[in-house]
């Protein structure tokens, strides 16, 4: 195992004067080092993850109903299934990522314009529903189960994979009845959230142990690529998380 350097990200920035930032003008703080020096120092700083960032338990902050959460989990897994490339959405913690996001600003559309009046609008005008994402997910998942019951007389999580895909395709096409939003819109949110849960930094509860990044050969939150930017070969770099930076 590689040794973890005591050169943390913050210390690196302090050492090289970058954190002095705009203060540079007010004094003589900023000694400009060359990028080569930066890169050499950083080789030591961005090493393997520290143990303490990998053991936080995942839990539900939003869903209270097991069927809804199981439906979310199974739908996520069909969108991003486990295969020979590596883990699927469930193993990567995606359902927890989505649950945790729905509990906060994302779920409440906190930074979106939610004032009325509400009109249907053209597709070119973007979403016009008064329902925030937390309600769309909740109602959308319930609608998947209602539709599964109607079609296959079972709830969504109990269906065979092929039947789950039938339901999800109906959802994607907008054919599943919902109130105040279309099932197509719900599906687009769900698909986006699944991909985010697979590939967002693991500090958000998805992308467990950075295995989403490893599959895609994405090195994560590296500080610098100065030493490889001119490389003609593909560089395999062990990923780092924001959680590894301290």
């Amino acid at each position: 195992m590689s040794k973890k350097s005591d050169m943390t990200r913050r210390n690196f920035l302090k050492a090289t004067g970058v954190a002095a930032g705009a203060a540079a003008l007010s004094g003589s703080i900023l000694s400009v080092t060359t990028a080569e020096t930066h890169a050499a120092e950083m080789k030591h700083s961005a090493q393997l993850p520290s143990e303490n960032t990998r053991i936080s338990p995942k839990g539900k902050m939003f869903f209270t109903n097991e069927l809804e959460f199981a439906t979310l989990s199974e739908a996520s897994e069909r969108i991003f299934p486990k295969d020979e490339n590596g883990p699927g959405a469930k193993e990567l913690g995606v359902p927890f990522f989505i649950d945790n996001q729905l509990a906060g600003a994302y779920g409440y559309n906190a930074r979106e314009y939610m004032s009325g009046p509400f009109f249907k609008g053209a597709p070119t005008q973007g979403y016009q529903t008064p329902l925030p994402k937390r309600d769309i997910f909740s109602k959308g998942l319930s609608a998947l189960n209602s539709y599964s019951q109607m079609t296959f007389q079972k709830n969504f999580p109990e269906l065979k994979d092929a039947d789950k895909d039938v339901i999800l395709k109906m959802c994607e096409s907008g054919a599943i009845p919902t109130e105040g939003f279309t099932s197509a819109y719900f599906f687009s949110l769900l698909r986006g959230a699944v991909l985010a849960g697979v590939y967002a930094d693991p500090i958000y509860s998805g992308n467990s142990n950075m295995n989403g990044w490893r599959m895609k050969q994405y090195p994560g939150a590296q500080m610098s690529y100065f030493d490889i930017i001119k490389s003609r070969n593909f560089e395999k770099i062990e990923p780092v998380s924001l959680a590894d930076m301290y």
Binding site: T33, H38, E112, Y199, D201, Q217
Partner: protein
């Protein structure tokens, strides 16, 4: 009642590149300046957690909070305009430094042709476009703007190479050599040369080496970490207002920066403005800031809106063609292609403006006889740092989710290259900005209303550029190419470009412009309005270089005006 504050020489509304440039130049010259910035204060130290795609790229951490203010949009004036509830097509900045903090760093000059587009089109082609297209000369030539381009490039430390045969004449070389040319960029270079084009490494407001600008501000060399676009630079390598002009203004002692100060009205008395009224967005207290000169230096949308809600200037009416305020709103068209290759590439590494491109099909650099459009676009490939959540290109025919999608998107992540164009946008009589009649912002003001759609000219150019992109990507050796389709109607949902222009256009004639060539308002000599809103049409490359040049021109205007009042033209 609003508390009235002590009068100053100059107040800037917005403190990004434009407000910051005017503030620094005026403060250096000894004028007292107050900068009112509606967003929060920030420095480079606030970007310590910036390598976070979910927080900053997907959830727009540095962008405008639309719960407070957005715009409404419709494709044509027979539609009901509805709020843009979520950011998408373009990303409005927020906070000190504005969009100059989260920009990619691509820094161009427009062509000499752009400034005389009407005259030159007529000379070469006769009457090419119908009267519905409101193209006009800018009233200012490339040669007149050249010193200001140079000034801005030296202030932000542009890294570039002057090898494109289509560039306007430069009075001096770029202050820094270009960013590195990677093996990925060589793939484009080879494909472009094979297509008969003239590729060059694009000019970047990102330092390729350590740099000290003429004001004494310092930049560090780029680390190619791949987090420029939608992010702030934690290394001080990407130039922004917060590491150049704003600290310079602060150092003079003549500049007072007030953040969380949202201007809601420009106060006018007779033919002069007297100051501005603003709201502290944290305490909701209201203030009046009197000033000898008011400079609107916020984004395109807000500059236009402030003039509209303050009743300054005549609103443009598409029915009669009368009025100028809100006229000539332009955007860009963005054709593109994804090429799929066999070999893996280090696409996670890069910089926002690490890019290579060609101008062979931009401006009037090629013969448009027989084509039913004018102008064109830069075709380029960015190595800006591919991010995994939002980059999931798959070859045509692949489903958008499930096992096949997973396999293809993972495989293509390191093996696909995007090539795109920024097609210039010509003003059309039906594309304009006005005030909405239904929706309000958090302070009770009407939202700005955008009426915009792609035109025949846009769609023709889109097809033409798509053909050229396809040729280049094939010549790059792609085993398959996926082309972006030409859409009839502009859609505000998918991201396209944050190159919005017009609405407060410049010109030599008050009948067809809002401000003169010093960006001085025709109807109030002590009011200046500066930014991409001044562009009478939008060019075929990134606008920031031209915005920066106009801001230096504006600063010159304010300084001239402070010595001798009256119209500067």
């Amino acid at each position: 009642m609003a508390a009235e504050l002590k009068k100053v020489n100059v107040v800037t509304v917005g403190v990004g590149f434009t407000g910051g440039i005017v503030a620094s130049e005026c403060a250096k010259a000894g004028l007292s300046v107050v900068g009112l910035e509606r967003g929060g204060y920030r420095t480079v130290e606030d970007f310590m957690e910036i390598h976070d795609e979910w927080r900053y790229a997907v959830n727009y951490g540095l962008m405008q909070d639309l719960s407070k203010e957005t715009i409404t949009f419709r494709n044509d004036r027979n539609m009901k305009a509805l709020p843009m509830r979520k950011l998408g097509s373009f990303l409005l900045g927020d906070g000190l430094g504005g969009a100059g903090v989260h920009w990619n760093g691509l820094n161009f000059r427009f062509f000499p042709y752009d400034f005389k587009i009407k005259t030159m089109t007529k000379e070469r082609y006769g009457s090419k476009l119908s009267g519905d297209y409101l193209i006009q000369d800018w009233g200012l030539s490339y040669e007149q703007l050249e010193p200001y381009y140079t000034k801005f490039e030296n202030i932000i430390g542009v890294s570039g190479e002057s090898v494109s045969p289509f560039d306007g004449k430069r009075s001096s070389p770029y202050p820094l050599p270009p960013l590195v040319k990677t093996s990925v960029m060589e793939i484009f270079e080879n494909g472009a040369k094979k297509s008969g084009c003239h590729p060059y490494v694009l000019p970047a407001g990102i330092a390729s080496q350590a740099y000290t600008n003429p004001d004494g501000a310092e930049l560090n060399p780029c680390e190619y970490c791949g987090y420029c676009e939608r992010f702030g630079c934690e290394y001080n390598a990407k130039a922004s207002p917060i590491n150049t002009v704003i600290p310079v203004a602060q150092k003079t002692g003549n500049f007072e920066l007030r953040c969380n100060a949202n201007v809601v009205e420009v106060l006018k008395k007779g033919n002069m403005v007297t100051g501005v009224r603003y709201i502290n967005t944290l305490t909701l207290e209201e203030f009046i800031q009197p000033a000898d000169v008011v400079v609107l230096g916020s984004y395109v949308m807000n500059n236009a809106k402030l003039l509209m809600v303050s009743g300054i200037g005549e609103m443009y009416d598409p029915m009669t063609g009368k009025g100028t305020l809100g006229k000539n709103y332009c955007y860009q068209i963005t054709p593109g292609a994804t090429g799929f290759f066999d070999d893996q590439m280090n696409l996670f590494a890069g910089a926002g403006a690490l890019a290579i491109g060609v101008d062979d099909f931009n401006g009037d650099n090629f013969d448009h006889s027989g084509l039913n459009f004018i102008h064109g676009g830069l075709i380029s490939m960015l190595q800006s740092g591919k991010r995994p959540i939002e980059t999931n290109a798959v070859p045509a025919g692949t489903p958008s989710w499930g096992a096949a999608f997973k396999k293809a998107s993972i495989n293509s992540f390191t093996r696909s290259l995007g090539v795109g164009a920024q097609g210039a946008s010509m003003p059309h009589r039906e594309n304009y900005l006005s005030l909405d009649d239904t929706y309000k912002d958090a302070y009770g003001l009407p939202l700005l209303r955008m009426t915009y759609n792609f035109t025949e000219q846009d769609r023709a150019m889109f097809d033409f550029l798509t053909g050229k992109i396809d040729m280049i990507v094939k010549n790059m050796g792609a085993k398959s190419v996926g082309l972006k389709s030409n859409s009839k109607d502009y859609n505000i949902v998918p991201y396209q470009t944050t190159h919005n222009t017009g609405g407060t256009i410049m010109g030599s004639d008050p009948e067809e412009s809002v401000v003169n060539t010093y960006l001085q308002h025709w109807d109030a000599e002590n009011l200046f309005v500066v930014g991409a809103g001044n562009f009478p049409h939008n060019g075929g490359c990134n606008p920031t270089g031209t915005v920066g040049a106009l801001a230096y021109r504006c600063a010159d205007g304010v300084l001239k005006y402070s010595k001798k009042s009256g119209s500067l033209v």
